[in-house]
């Protein structure tokens, strides 16, 4: 048995503090003061929720224009920007409109997403958005593998106010990837 008890000469006040458990009493006073001034910092989560910051980056979603058409033009830039390879885009021509492209299939594997928001920054037509949803616990991991319909549905419920189509926002600017069906064709 090692003698860890170093025989240090105690002053009278130190000795008195030792035998009256002074340090322990100070600690007990601290805990009691917390009991008497009871101010819990707990938030009863499912019943009350924190206010999220304005720039909160939550669940990803695909957006639509105000006429209900998808914004996504299938450019694959989000797929390129994504650091954890969450996104997979299958791009295709819009049937019957050879100048226009769209994403035929769009998949997000949210199990890997780290919510960096780089896909949103990368999108040239602002087709991606980050919602304020964060309660995405599921029983099956496969439910986090989202397809285009699901992502659009998330966007529909999170962004009720939609933009006009770009060509209508800026009528005098030329756009690529726009059908201009609403503009009468120039006479040849």
């Amino acid at each position: 048995m090692r003698s860890s008890h170093t025989t240090k000469r105690l002053s009278l006040s130190e000795w008195f503090k030792t035998i009256t458990f002074y340090e322990i009493l100070v600690g007990m006073k601290a805990t009691l003061s917390h009991l008497l001034n009871y101010r819990p910092i707990t938030l009863q989560y499912p019943h009350e929720k924190r206010t999220l910051p304005d720039n909160y980056r939550g669940m990803l979603a695909l957006l639509r224009y105000d006429d209900g058409t998808e914004k996504c033009v299938g450019c694959d830039l989000c797929e390129a920007a994504c650091p954890s390879r969450v996104i997979r885009v299958v791009s295709a021509e819009v049937p019957g409109e050879p100048t226009k492209r769209y994403s035929k299939e769009y998949y997000m594997d949210m199990t890997r997403c780290l919510f960096c928001g780089m896909c949103v920054d990368a999108c040239p037509v602002d087709a991606l958005g980050m919602t304020r949803e964060f309660e995405w616990a599921v029983y099956d991991k496969r439910q986090l593998h989202l397809n285009k319909q699901q992502l659009l549905a998330i966007g529909d419920r999170s962004f009720p106010v939609r933009e006009k189509r770009l060509e209508l926002q800026h009528p005098n600017v030329a756009f690529f990837n726009v059908a201009f069906n609403h503009v009468p064709p120039k006479p040849n």
């Binding site: 008890h5 601290a30 805990t31 917390h34 009991l35 009871y38 819990p40």
Partner: protein
């Protein structure tokens, strides 16, 4: 026509049933109170979900434990593994037989003298409690050994060493009170502390048992394996100590035993040192307003208040103090507590002798 024995048995069983109900109810309250008090002291809320402010949490816990799978680990000694929780629980509950909950009244039923507030007033009450309290250690040790797990075994061994070391101090701390009271019966000891609160043995002349009380409380915290002496069930070292392998009802039994043991030692402390059922003023307020037959309510309330304050102290210590190291625990027990308890006996004996000579 009931026989005398039948009547005695019926009365005793009624008393036992009542006391068991009170103890189990207290344990239920304690499990909630501990979590609430700990939470409040740590700026949390404690359980809040089951019932308003979480007051139904103990029932939810009990139901959960009741329906859990009862696992016996491979290689465990089945008989001892099954017996250990019961061996732990029964001695604790037996101890309550001699605790006086209320005033020392007697009344006669068909020529049988009944004491309503104590199941059996035996003249070696305190020895009986000490004897059975030590037996509960067997449950812990055997449970630890029979689980066939290194954590359980280490927990059981630690508990054995700890209980033996601190049981001694409990016994010696009590001796001062016994010298003052001149009796081992808890009823007689409590009867000796009537009057103002300075007649309680913690303050009583000629030898106030203040040091004995402190030694008793510290040793009892160690004996019930509570923080800061919870080495047998230290989560950070031994998963859960001796009941690592226990689940379901058997775990509930260990749990119940630990809390019932806390209640028991608090009851003993309030009976020995804090005047038991006696109010801090002479007599009772109920007597003053002429409701003598109802004064037992006031007396039992005082007993409950004292017991619950001591139980609160357990929680308070748990919220405040970190766990001791094993060598610190042993050094504190043998080199600090034991000499104080022995010195207290010598001083008390001399003081009582001198007081008798002067008289």
């Amino acid at each position: 026509m009931v026989t005398e024995f039948g009547l005695r048995l019926a009365i005793s069983l009624t008393q036992i049933g009542a006391v068991m109900c009170i103890v189990v109810l207290t344990v239920l309250i304690l499990t909630l109170a501990e979590r609430k008090v700990l939470g409040w002291m740590q700026d949390r809320m404690g359980p809040m979900e089951v019932g308003p402010y979480g007051i139904l949490q103990p029932f939810a816990d009990a139901i959960k434990l009741f329906f859990k799978e009862d696992i016996v680990p491979a290689g465990a000694n089945k008989l001892i593994f099954t017996m250990a929780p019961i061996l732990c629980l029964i001695p604790t509950f037996i101890g309550f037989a001699v605790i006086p909950w209320g005033p020392n009244w007697t009344f006669e039923v068909n020529g049988i003298i009944v004491k309503p507030f104590v199941i059996s007033d035996i003249n070696i009450g305190i020895l009986y409690i000490l004897a059975f309290a030590s037996l509960a250690a067997y449950g812990i040790i055997l449970g630890g050994w029979a689980s066939n797990s290194k954590y359980s075994l280490l927990g059981g061994l630690r508990s054995a060493a700890q209980v033996i070391s601190y049981e001694l101090n409990v016994g010696l701390a009590i001796v001062g009170v016994l010298i003052l009271a001149g009796s081992l019966s808890l009823v007689k000891i409590t009867d000796g502390q009537t009057g103002w609160f300075w007649n309680w043995y913690i303050f009583a002349l000629p030898a106030p048992q203040l040091f004995a009380f402190v030694v008793y409380v510290i040793s009892v915290v160690a004996e019930t394996n509570r923080v800061p002496f919870d080495l047998p069930e230290a989560e950070s070292e031994l998963v859960a100590g001796f009941f690592t392998e226990y689940s379901g009802l058997r775990f509930a039994f260990f749990f119940l035993a630990e809390y019932a043991n806390m209640v028991l030692v608090s009851c003993v402390a309030s009976a020995l040192f804090l005047g038991g059922w006696n109010a801090p003023y002479p007599g009772t307020l109920m007597d003053l307003v002429g409701l003598s037959s109802w004064s037992w309510i006031e007396s039992t309330m005082w007993f409950a208040i004292k017991t619950y304050s001591l139980l609160f102290l357990f929680f308070w210590l748990r919220a405040t103090l970190p766990r001791l190291r094993y060598d610190q625990l042993m050094r504190f027990g043998w080199k600090v507590m034991l000499p104080i308890a022995l010195a207290n006996i010598v001083v008390t004996a001399i003081a009582v002798f001198i007081a008798q000579q002067i008289k």
